[in-house]
Symmetry: C2
Subunit: 916 residues, 2 copies
């Protein structure tokens, strides 16, 4: 139901509406009111409320009583204020009629510009702008827009006339037989002809003349804008975007201003600070005696703001005052569109300005120092992308777009941002060999498997033809922050011939390529890269973020090197140390685990296991040393054993030789490991149940390494974790065995080593029975990668073929986001919530975190904060993002800190470093 | 804490204890009291309560005050009653001392027989039995049992003496140089020597003589029996069997009676009815002047009960009276052990008699007719195994055990009961070809895949080297009730050479074998089979069961043939019709779907789909006709597409020829379908989302078939079901498409066809979000097979390697049962419960069932009854089992029928036939 007031005026320094009235006035209307109220020189106008739109559709497309009077009253007020009249033949008032709902629906609804033009007023406009061609062009556009939107004439009919005029007249005049004729090639007289023809179309289609009465035009335009609220595409858009509860669109009728009315007019765009460096200097361009279109078209070289200061010091002064006012008001760097009409400054639009990642930090921190904003506001303003942008190498920004285009070879899915350059190799072994010889290489594979990990590590970047953002290649590369493009389906790889082909070009082993992991572009040459250095502002801001957050941030790290890097990036512990990655590290290690796997008797198996012990122990010692007392959660062996064995003949032969057994036996052992669905097979805790001697060895390596560290006065906090558990009895069995091995060593070594025993919660059954499991486990780590796979019955490796359909709104649009990238809070999140609640019912001090991809996703981090988890763990490169997201969540939803602190009783005592 | 009364006497027609005092007296003690109280001539004796045992261990192995006096008082009472004295030289009272806890622990605790024998009383026993050898043998056994159990002398030491005597004396006497000497070969004088030597062992080991004082023997035996409660093996047994809350063991001291005291003595076993036919006739054997051992040994030919009637009419009459009394008391057929000592009848034991499946039904039904029991009791007495036993063919029971042993070739896991005979073939195609030529074949495979389904159907039985009870082979075969043995790991199959080898024997293609699917035995010859006919009593009992149950029973059937069979077995609808099985049926159908899959463009795909339409339509018409208005739940295409394409070169070539495209292209198309984890890949509803044209075709086939039936006045009730759904939006999308296709056809055909649209709930996320899904779905069917896989992260195909460890108590013992056989009520059951609750919160009339293996498992059926599901659906052969289980559950846990009936409002109106 419409209220009494249907129209809100703005202009002359004050507005009837306010900035917060988005629901009533729409976003654009509220913005215009806001700018007016803070004293900006905004073109005047008035806004019809969204309630009118609501009433209109609820009352069979009729307006509320008294509405039309209200509109006319406001129009008169506008004419009085600006001193011009609609349709005036000398100096006509022209207006735009624009839609604007409470939420932005870009391109969905109608806009009509230059309203008020007719056969008479056009001449006034021509004279005033001293540009009859401009005036004619505005008029023909006005007829087209009005005719097609208000009167439903097919737009094509008008366009056909333009083409006709071009071919009949312009082409001949320019003597251009076949070439393209641009709209701007059409001259004044041709436009005169076109306008007449368009009017004829209008009459033929509507049965009446194009209205010369501006008031009739105005009402037609208002009807059209309100009517566009219910057209199919807008309704569909709102449904897909889940935009509910909107009343309708507002309608904004605004005075049009022109920057091309002479040398005392102009138009430009400026930023309140430098968007590249973030420095607090006024930054922008303008063109004198020009329209906005001319600025965009880039035909004329624009002036800088300094030039404006010289040419029109008053206008400059006014603009600079606007700049300061806007920053004081919006408390952020603004991007301003302005027009100067006959010496008078108009601000057409102001919005938050886009800026480089480095500038984002500098501006945020500077504004706190300038007391414009508070620390919490500065934190809220940073996004994950800003942080990402600080760390990854990028293609030298000075390389021209056309140079880039020339070398573009293919495009795939951007899996890990950042750029990489190197020579192409087609298998992991070559990658390692070439890397040993000092070459930078890019590993190109159809898809990668754990066998390739050595080569992936050696390569500068990874490119695969298949897979999605959570395929093996993407996940591993992301862990290392290594440039990676996946699912580049246009690639045809011939790994025997060692070539790859796309878009008709074939590249060979050893050719240079460049990956842009931020865009998915692959270039067929080696481009120069630059690596930005995080600015000082980054450090200040992250210090504030750490102060603000309550959620701890750990990292997923498998090596002392990764651990050290993660600490530098702010990690407070290791939330997931995957022991199996240690087995792939060198040829000897791989051979030892392969020996263990193909062993036919307990003795051979034990001897192979004994060979592995010193490697694991050494790795753990390195990690403990790097972490210096911060908690280290070590996951016991997880993947199916077949991931460790060679699948190629040559390697199988080598293994057979090494073990001195027939090749056939090696092949048989490997064949036995084949599983239909390895993800649901013999892996995780099941390995420890079936082969307890592996568990014994791993526990031994962990605890002996811990004892060695203690002897060297290095503090250690190992947390031993079982993956893929399904039952409390299973955990109890493994925990008992673990304690037996560990306690015996600790007793013998006569040192104090405290350790915790816990489990991954990554199988739905474990979440459902978490109360029982918490009776045995001292901590939980939600493995939301696998939990997502099982909860959705969705293999990460295979989802690439259909998951895009599920996520893409243009297709099925079933899911809000890829559940492997952002935690599915409805389904998987429900299990996490249940698991947490049940776990803490049994053990109130249960320490709970999540590890996996979601630990570095801001939305998921917020969810974890809300649930009351103790920590998230993510790959080293995502640690700053998680720290920021945790801070943002804590600011948005403050925790009752007392209660949260109480829950920490079970956690190891935190070192001062860790809480930094 | 012991109560005042520690010892309960029984004998002379009355007992101090009662039959229900199992907790206090143990099972055996309570049974003896019960038999005494109902007037059976039971040997007299007394029972020491379990509380004494409890007290004993709680008080550092001391007995309660006054206990020993109580024992002696009861012993005197026993001596008075039977008129004999312990240790008497003329006619000694002998007693047995036996353990007996409230729950049976077979073989775990101690028993000592013939207690009371010493150097003097042995002569009295010899004279009375007129068998000195028997008496001596009893004495040497008494020394052995007493020495080893009461005094912890190693049993081997006594055994060594027996071997010594055999070799020193018996062997010489019998002049048997190398052959085996039996215990019965040792004669009286040799037994005399043995007894002396055993006494010497006793003295050497214990430092004292074998006690000649019977009271000392008695106490030693009591101590030993009570002590055996806490020996390791008994403690372990109770832990593994989850036997908690037991106080201890009772001790039963019972007069021994002897059937070998002359021609007026004897011993025998009888059944109160014929255990083979179930007829109400007295059935049993006895031996005169003999011990129980002689009956078991089978050396002498026993007499029938009729003979006893002639020889000792009084004893017979008494025995027959016992028979009637027992049936009246226990209300079930009894198996009785009896002894006649010098004309006096003693009943030693009575228990529920084992019987054949046919007899089970006859006895249960007869007893209701005789008013001995009620219908509900009769129903409760039948087990799933009894029903199974009625239907499956069996190996001719007249074939001797030794003949069977001679042909035993291998043993595997019994997957589907029943026997099968045929010639070996090693691939599906041969199975089909040979079957076409009229041969009976057994299909032998390493493992089966959906490609083999045609051959599996053609074969009489299936044998695989790998897989468990829920492998592909087992599940498919079970659906057809086809004999199947899986996981026969000792088989070495060479499918190129077409041979299989086990235990050193190699069989070739075309050789006959016999499978016994009830035991897992494979025989290397063709044995005769017989197929039992279900008795009339079966029908009566199942009629009562149908009356009792509230849960409906549907079947999983994919063909008109299966549907017809299932109706004959009592199915009330189809709960799962798997449309994909229709595609495997013939070469043409397979080719059509393969064409569809390898199609590179929409047009080719559509033309292949169009080819499939008539096949599907015809199948549905047949099924609807067979079901005559009963509901038919049709699951749209579910399996990953790669299951439909050929993986062998020859077949790929054939496909390439048929489609007139290069083999390479076929290979590429097939390669593209390869998935790392097909179970979690592109299947189920995802197929319909990605290829909506397949859904269109299937819906068209269903609805057109339904319309055709309606034109013929056949009632139809199709329920269209989407598999593997994960989200309400997904269901909404597919439901909208389904309705569009269906309603258009119905409108065009101008008939009334009602149909429902629903979903499988088989992915954890669907159960978690069931409230949202029920907003769109009109029914749920819990697919607990897949739900188990995802909830456990456990692939049915791969679980064989480790799941046994998880289930086996001797190993990890983590799970109570194989979750694919019996629904995991704790974990998966929690999801089913949540899904049901949430679903009915949104849609109170939601119809809910389960389909899959669990629908035919009695425990799972009971769980479904308790949850309040509407129906279970299982393979045709399990339908009677499910009907019975549903009845048993309804009797055990009656539903409030009003409420249950209210929930049915959404179900299609049931026909009178359906409720039969």
């Amino acid at each position: 139901m419409a209220t009494n007031k249907n129209v809100y005026f703005f202009g002359g320094g004050k507005a009837e509406g306010k900035g917060h009235m988005k629901e009533l006035l729409g976003g654009k209307g509220a913005g215009l009111a806001e700018m007016t109220n803070i004293g900006l020189p905004v073109p005047a106008g008035f806004t019809i409320t969204t309630e009118v739109c609501d009433y209109y559709f609820k009352h069979n497309t009729r307006y509320p009583a008294g509405f039309s009077k209200e509109v006319i009253k406001n129009l008169k007020k506008l004419e009085r204020l600006v001193g011009k009249k609609l349709g005036d033949a000398k100096d006509p008032l022209l207006v735009s009629v624009r839609s604007g709902a409470a939420q932005s629906m870009p391109g969905m609804m109608e806009t009509i510009l230059n309203l008020g033009l007719n056969d008479k007023s056009i001449e006034g406009l021509a004279e005033k702008t001293n540009n009859r061609r401009f005036a004619l062009d505005a008029y023909r556009r006005c007829i087209l827009m009005y005719g097609s939107t208000a009167m439903n004439v097919e737009r094509e009919k008008f366009d056909d006339e333009l083409e006709g005029v071009k071919n009949e007249f312009t082409r001949k005049r320019l003597k251009r037989k076949n070439g393209l004729i641009l709209d701007t090639d059409v001259n004044e007289s041709e436009l005169d002809i076109l306008i007449e023809r368009q009017k004829a179309v209008y009459k033929a289609e509507t049965g009446e003349d194009f209205p010369q009465d501006p008031i009739k035009q105005l009402w037609g335009a208002i009807d059209a804008v309100i009517g566009s609220w219910m057209v199919d595409k807008a309704v569909t858009y709102r449904r897909l975007e889940n935009m509910t509860g909107l009343k309708g669109t507002g309608v904004n009728i605004v005075q049009m201003v022109f920057g091309n009315k002479g040398e005392d007019s102009g138009t430009g765009v400026c930023f309140t600070r430098d968007p590249n460096s973030g420095k607090n200097i006024f930054y922008g361009d303008l063109l004198m005696n020009a329209q906005g279109e001319d600025v965009v078209a880039g035909i004329r070289t624009p002036l800088h703001l300094d030039d404006l200061r010289k040419i029109m010091p008053a206008a400059y002064k006014q603009l600079n005052a606007v700049r300061l006012k806007l920053e004081a008001h919006y408390k952020d760097m603004q991007d301003i569109e302005f027009t100067i009409e006959e010496g008078k400054l108009y601000i057409l639009q102001t919005r938050t300005g886009k800026r480089s990642p480095a500038a984002t930090f500098k501006i945020a921190v500077d504004m706190v120092r300038e007391k414009l904003t508070k620390e919490h506001e500065a934190i809220a303003r940073i996004t994950a992308k800003d942080i990402e942008g600080l760390f990854y190498p990028v293609i030298d920004p000075s390389i021209s777009l056309s140079d880039l285009k020339k070398h573009l070879f293919a495009n795939g899915i951007e899996a890990v941002p950042g750029a990489a350059v190197g020579k192409i190799v087609f298998n992991a072994k070559d990658a390692e060999d070439w890397c040993d010889q000092g070459e930078d290489v890019i590993l190109v594979r159809q898809e990668t498997s754990p066998e390739d990990v050595g080569g992936m590590h050696a390569a500068k970047g990874i490119l695969t033809a298949t897979g999605g953002k959570t395929s093996h290649a993407a996940v591993v590369a992301r862990g290392w922050g290594k440039s990676c493009i996946v699912g580049c389906s246009e690639l045809q790889i011939d790994s025997n011939e060692k070539t790859m082909t796309a878009r008709g070009i074939t590249l060979r082993e050893g050719d240079f390529i460049t990956l842009n992991g931020s865009t998915g572009d692959v270039f067929s040459t080696g481009l120069d890269l630059t690596k930005p250095e995080p600015p000082a502002a980054y450090k200040s801001l992250m210090r504030w973020a750490d102060k603000a957050r309550t959620l701890k941030v750990r990292t997923n790290a498998d090596t002392p090197y990764d651990a050290t890097r993660a600490i530098a990036l702010g990690a407070e512990g290791i939330g997931l140390c995957r022991t199996e990655h240690m087995f792939f590290d060198t040829q000897e290690r791989r051979l030892a685990i392969q020996k263990m796997i193909v062993a036919e008797d307990a003795e051979t198996r034990q001897s192979a296991i004994d060979e592995l012990l010193p490697y694991q122990k050494k790795d753990f010692e390195g990690i403990f040393t790097a972490m210096a007392g911060k908690p280290v959660t070590i996951r016991l062996l997880d993947p199916p054993l077949h991931e460790f064995v060679p699948h190629r003949d040559a390697e199988q032969k080598r293994l057979a030789n090494e073990l001195d057994i027939p090749l056939k036996q090696v092949k048989q052992s490997i064949e036995k490991l084949r599983e239909t669905n390895p993800m649901l097979g013999l892996r995780g805790a099941r390995l420890s149940v079936s082969y307890p001697e592996i568990l014994d060895m791993q526990v031994r390596a962990i605890i002996e390494a811990a004892c060695d560290c203690r002897k060297k006065k290095i503090r250690v906090m190992p947390e031993i974790m079982f993956p893929l558990v399904i039952d409390a009895k299973e955990v109890a069995l493994l925990a008992a065995r673990t304690r037996k091995v560990a306690d015996e060593i600790i007793k013998r070594r006569k040192v104090t080593v405290k350790y915790l025993i816990g489990t991954m919660i990554e199988v739905p059954r474990a979440a459902l029975l978490a109360d029982e499991i918490a009776g045995v486990a001292e901590f939980f780590s939600f493995g939301t990668n696998d939990l997502t796979q099982f909860t959705f019955a969705l293999s990460r490796d295979d989802a690439g073929r259909f998951l895009p359909d599920y996520v893409d709104d243009k297709k099925a649009g079933i899911l809000k986001a890829d559940p492997f990238q952002s935690l599915d809070q409805d389904g998987v999140g429900m299990l996490v919530k249940m698991g947490l609640k049940k776990g803490r019912e049994t053990r109130p001090n249960l320490k709970v975190g999540i590890c996996g991809e979601h630990g570095g996703d801001p939305d998921s981090v917020e969810f974890c904060h809300l649930l009351g988890l103790d920590y998230v763990s993510c790959s080293p490169f995502r640690v700053p993002i998680a720290r920021l997201a945790a801070a943002q969540a804590a600011i948005k939803y403050p925790r009752k800190s007392k209660k949260a602190a109480g829950k920490k009783a079970c956690a190891p005592k935190k070192s001062k470093k860790a809480s930094k």
